[in-house]
Amino acid sequence: MTTGAAIELSHVTKVYRRFSGKQFATLKSALLQRSILRDLQPKETFLALDDVSFTVPKGSTFGVIGRNGSGKSTALKVIAGITKPTGGSVAVQGRISALIELGAGFHPEISGRENVFINGIMLGLTKREIHERFDEIVEFAELKDFIDAPVKTYSSGMYMRLGFAVAIHVNPDVLLVDEVLAVGDEGFTHKCLDKFSEFKRRGKTILLVTHSLGLVERFCDDAVWLDHGQKLAEGDPKRVIGAYLINVESAEEGYLAETDARAQEEVAVVEAPPAAPDAGADAAGPDSGPQNMFQANEGRWGSGGVAITGVTLRDAAGEAGHVFQSGEAMTVELALKAERPCDDFVFGIAMFNTDGTCVYGTNTDIEKYDADELSGEAAVRFVIEALDLVEGTYKLDVAVHKKDGAPYDYHRLLYTFRVKSRTKDAGLYRPRHHWEFSPTARLTRTDE
């Protein structure tokens, strides 16, 4: 049952032709210039798959992951035979069913029952086969009461469910699934997954294109990672997902660095930090001051005198970056410059999540550091031994201000970092913890 290949792609290249501007070209001009045949030739090309080879063994479940636009769906279409590869070859053994767009052939005016028949025929079933499976299909779709109503009256969930039910009852040898598990409610998703498991047990081959890495990790025997039409990794799902995540992180890193640079550039333009007259008023009430400040948008203000010239986030190894693993160390490094020596200064820092909730805030005054002297260039490091935050994006406030709160230089939400975690727990803060169970409550960890 597990010998031989169910799907074999060898050196598959798919070039999409962009008929640029041609959509709007008129027949007249084509006729006048005698260019009909020439116009049917492509002008620009787009390489959707670039020399991709992989083999899906019979009876295995195979995951395809990758970012949007990486060629996953094109690969699926090529395997399904909907489009032909420009180069290379595809070999598929056995009946194939593609869950690409559910209910693609439904006609809105006619009943669900009639649509099941026509859709089934489109997918390659005979009338008799559909008759035999009809009740099963309807039951699976949970549409018993609505099967004789026209499909146009269905909700989108019902529509998808019926499409899924028909496609899965084609009883294929090879099932291609493109991100369709998002249909229906939780219960239906479980049913779909059960159906996949059943397929797996019966030794059928499943090719799964999805963004749900958890699903790939749990279900797939093998995985391939596509990026910009190229195969970057293939093999054990855990390893492939790991490689993919590192890549996503570095892309995010680049994106965050860019955002930060832009935010800082923007405030640099409106620099000239005016000694906001109400900054002093804010400082009058130490409670109301920060609260108002927390409502402010990102920006930079203060009286000058002491300036924060640079903020760097570093990981445990001292590498500057924007993406950190939950639970690991992180250091916020401030570079400062005092125009003249001063003895009234407080360094402050605060972290916010994307909702604007302050996750943590502190300053040297609160923590009982008394200011003695600051002169010339200085460096301040805020060392977090363990960044016990849940996954998410966070922003930083950093400031240097007088003891009474009047800011020298306040950087509001100008620095962004992302915390990554393999555990999808909820909330803001992850206390260091572990679980303990009495011997009568037995559990097994699945991730190690």
Binding site: L27, I82, I96, E101, A104, H107, E109, I110, I121
Partner: protein
Amino acid sequence: MWHNLAQLVRYRGLIQSLVARELKARYRGSVLGYFWSFVNPLLLLGIYTFVFSTIMKNSEPRTEPYAVFMFCGILPWTWFASSMLEASNSLIAGGNLIKKVLFPAEVLPIVSVLANMVHFFFGLPILFGFMIARGHLPHFPGVLWFPVIVLVQLVFTVACVLVLSALTVHFRDLRDLLANLITLWFFATPIIYPYFLDGVKNYIGYFKWNPMYHLIVPYQESLFFDTFGHARSLLILGGASVVFFLAAYWLFDRLRDSFAEVV
């Protein structure tokens, strides 16, 4: 190409159910339902009778009763014209199928032709009923040609829609162009006037190039007139249509891969 043509035969079940769906969907939700397929030609026939027997009296005795004569040409013409108009849009309308399902695209324009052929057949009982009512029955040997004419028209129309639908995917303005062209074509074909008028005879050199001339005139001869004199040109058109069909299918097959990307 031959392989795909052979596949087409395998898809006859699909074509059959799609034609049935097309017919069902058309009248779904209307009170009279299928009955409209009969009512439409009946009403049309009523109007023609009234106009051409009361308001604009026909002066050509050989085309009497005129409403029957005209109906003999209008029915097959409607089949042809509606097929062309619907099929030109069929690939674009069925884009979802072409892009997302492994689906033989040529089925879509062919279904348009066949669905309209069924409508054509629905119109025939009305025509025959009217013939009986007016006491003008088709003569015997000529009427035997009728199935042959239908067959030739079927092959010819399918060939036309294959070319048309494939090109419309790339040149959307064909749809609008076609609507006007069909009107012109209608008047360039002896449907509302008989082929033996002097006006036609003087320009017969041009008329001979109109393939619909070689279909509509045999229809009229087979159903209305007493003699069937255009058998030869009909058979030539039949032969040409087969060649045309193969060429059209070849073109369609060549453009097939572009559909999923352009539609």
